[in-house]
Amino acid sequence: MSADQSQRASNLNVGRCLDQYREMSRIREFELAAIRSAEEKLVLGAIHPSIGQEAVAVGVCGNLRREDIILSTHRGHGHTMAKGADPLAMMRELFGRAGGYSQGKGGSMHIADFKVGMLGANGVVSANINIAAGAAHAIKLKGGNEVVVCFFGDGATNRGPFLEGLNWAGVFGLPILFVCEDNGFAATTRTKAMTYGAGPAARAAAIGVKTTEVDGNDLLAVDEIARDLIEEARRGEPRFLLAKTYRLTGHTSADAAPYRPKEEVEERWLNDPIVNLRRALSAAGASDADLDAIAAKAKQEMTEAYETAKGTDWPAKELAYTDVQDIGDPRKGAF
């Protein structure tokens, strides 16, 4: 491992890292439970697992306050949990049941938890970038001290909002950190094949947003760098973080990803961010017993969420007509 990696490993805070290990394990187990549930047709729509990318979600969100804001994408389970959302309410949403975060109206791509500052996943790639800039704009107008973190993928950097939203954040001096999870793929396409030039970081820097790159599979690195960037952003200097990682599953739980060689994926599994963190924790003296217990507890929590969600009723159908808007009767003129 590199010099500053060993540096970090040596002065690692075991208590904090155990928490982060717990969070990463919980996300992993949530995704695994969701994938199983999709196979069982309990999950009704498409899901985009974040397996392999947990260190980015946990490393970044671990440096946020409850009142801080995040926005996510179609691949949002990890970010949402890392910000403090309840996996049962998430699982219920994936199952389209009562008590889901969106009352069963949204599903995986439209989970939000405004109580913990999670302003929503999004089904439209790159669309959350402008919305996030606006959330930060509101914080500035209100003189608040919160910061916004906007997560998006490498593929999102080929859409217009990437340019418009970063420029906006800079022009207005907004408290926002843009986090690009570069997992190498945009659905079934290798993002590089459709991206000219040096890529997202170079583009962000050219727009004027100070940019940092990090190994997104190294929780300790993400944690340390995110801490600084978030505090700089909080002062109204937008920041951009490119986290290099890898999508260990297919694009959706239904995607076997035949378009990439088995060897590539196997090799990437050797760089599993959870295993990496566990290795560092062991080196720092954490016992296998404790670490196993954390993982087991996470698995059990998600199994319970799965069971409970499975046993939950469908939402009442009247809900289809609520929260459309205040003005006007949505039933008018129908059927």
């Binding site: 804001i69 926005l71 889901g100 975060y101 969106s102 009352q103 069963g104 109206k105 949204g106 439209h110 939000a112 938890d113 405004f114 302003l119 929503g120 999004n122 089904g123 439209v124 669309a127 970038i129 402008n130 919305i131 996030a132 800039a133 606006g134 959330a135 930060a136 704009h137 509101a138 914080i139 500035k140 107008l141 209100k142 217009g160 909002p161 418009e164 939203g165 420029n167 906006w168 022009v171 207005f172 609520t322 929260d323 459309v324 808007q325 205040d326 003005i327 006007g328 009767d329 949505p330 008018k332 003129g333």
Partner: protein
């Protein structure tokens, strides 16, 4: 009675709402210099450049940022300059603003006003003249306001700013200089309540925005010929005042809808179809739409006029209906 112009009425409404509520702010290109039509003139002096904010030429970010800022509790008034340019921000308006509250199970609101000036205005041609109000009326979650008078541009804009739903607010570029009675100070319109612009017993003309004036001109001509048209100014298309329209058509037995937009799949079709569905037996003659042909809008006046609904066309159609 005091008079005011359509553009000034909107300016005053915004200024008053900004005084009343510090969370209201406006954003758009060139607002610092008063906006492209002068709708924001002088407001920077009073409210500063944070609340009357310039913007880069980034329509999708202007709209998208407004969605985020609205979800965070501010009340942005977005200026799109020409409704045509709002076509650069449709995902933000239709997929995001209109659906966020619903998709997130009621956890948020998007109290956002999008000002989209519509309509023909001098020789502005196909990319600066469109009227696409029917599009937004079709989208669940959106409110659509189409003021025809200075008083309404005041009362409806205030209502739009106070509304917790995203409101597509379509002022007509041809009406900016129009003078009319000043509204009662502080009055806030109720969405979905039409205005009977003129009473009449022989036929009902339903219209909105600039076409209300075309309809009134036609009604005056018809009156000389002894035909009394009742002219209804809908003021908002979603919601639209079904009750007022039904009451009038039950009285007159005849419905004509007049609008500037293309007739095919225009909002006139919704009104004509609804009345035909609900009041078939009350109709003395078939419902009738008077609206534009399905052509882009031209630059040369002789060509532009081919897309323009004139009072003469309304009169002719009305006489044909009565004769029928």
């Amino acid at each position: 009675m005091a008079k005011i112009t359509y553009i000034e009425a909107g300016r005053q409404a915004l200024a008053e709402e900004m005084r009343r509520d510090p969370l209201v702010w406006a954003v758009g290109e060139d607002l610092g210099r008063g906006g492209v039509f002068g709708q924001y003139k002088g407001l920077t002096d009073e409210f500063g450049s944070d609340r009357i904010s310039d913007a880069p030429i980034s329509e999708s970010c202007i709209m998208g940022a407004a969605v985020g800022a609205a979800m965070m509790g501010t009340r942005p008034v977005v200026e799109m300059r020409f409704s045509d340019f709002a076509l650069c921000a449709v995902d933000e308006l239709v997929n995001q603003a209109a659906k966020a509250r619903y998709m997130f199970g009621g956890q948020t609101r998007v109290p956002l006003v999008v000002r989209e000036p519509i309509g023909m205005w001098r020789s502005s041609a196909a990319q600066h003249s469109q009227s696409l109000e029917a599009w937004y009326a079709h989208i669940p979650g959106l409110v659509v306001a189409v003021p025809a008078t200075p008083a309404d541009n005041y009362a409806l804009l205030k209502a739009a700013i106070r509304c917790d739903d995203p409101v597509v607010y379509m002022e007509h570029k041809g009406l900016w200089p129009l003078e009319g009675d000043a509204p009662e100070e502080g009055v806030v319109a109720e969405f979905g309540k039409a205005r009977i612009a003129r009473e009449g017993a022989d036929l009902t003309i339903v219209s909105w925005s600039a076409s209300v004036h075309t309809s009134m001109e036609a009604a005056a001509t018809l009156a000389e010929a002894g035909i009394e048209a009742e002219v209804i100014d809908l003021r908002t298309l979603w919601p639209w005042d079904r009750e007022a329209v039904f009451a009038s058509v039950e009285k007159t037995g005849r419905l004509m809808v007049v609008h500037e937009a293309v007739s095919v799949a225009g909002f006139g079709a919704e009104i004509a179809a609804t009345v035909a569905e609900s009041l078939h037996k009350a109709l003395k003659s078939p419902v009738k739409r008077v609206a534009a042909p399905r052509i882009p809008i031209s630059y040369a006046p002789v060509l532009e006029d081919e897309a323009r609904v004139t009072a003469a066309a309304v009169v002719a159609a009305a006489q044909a209906m009565i004769a029928n």
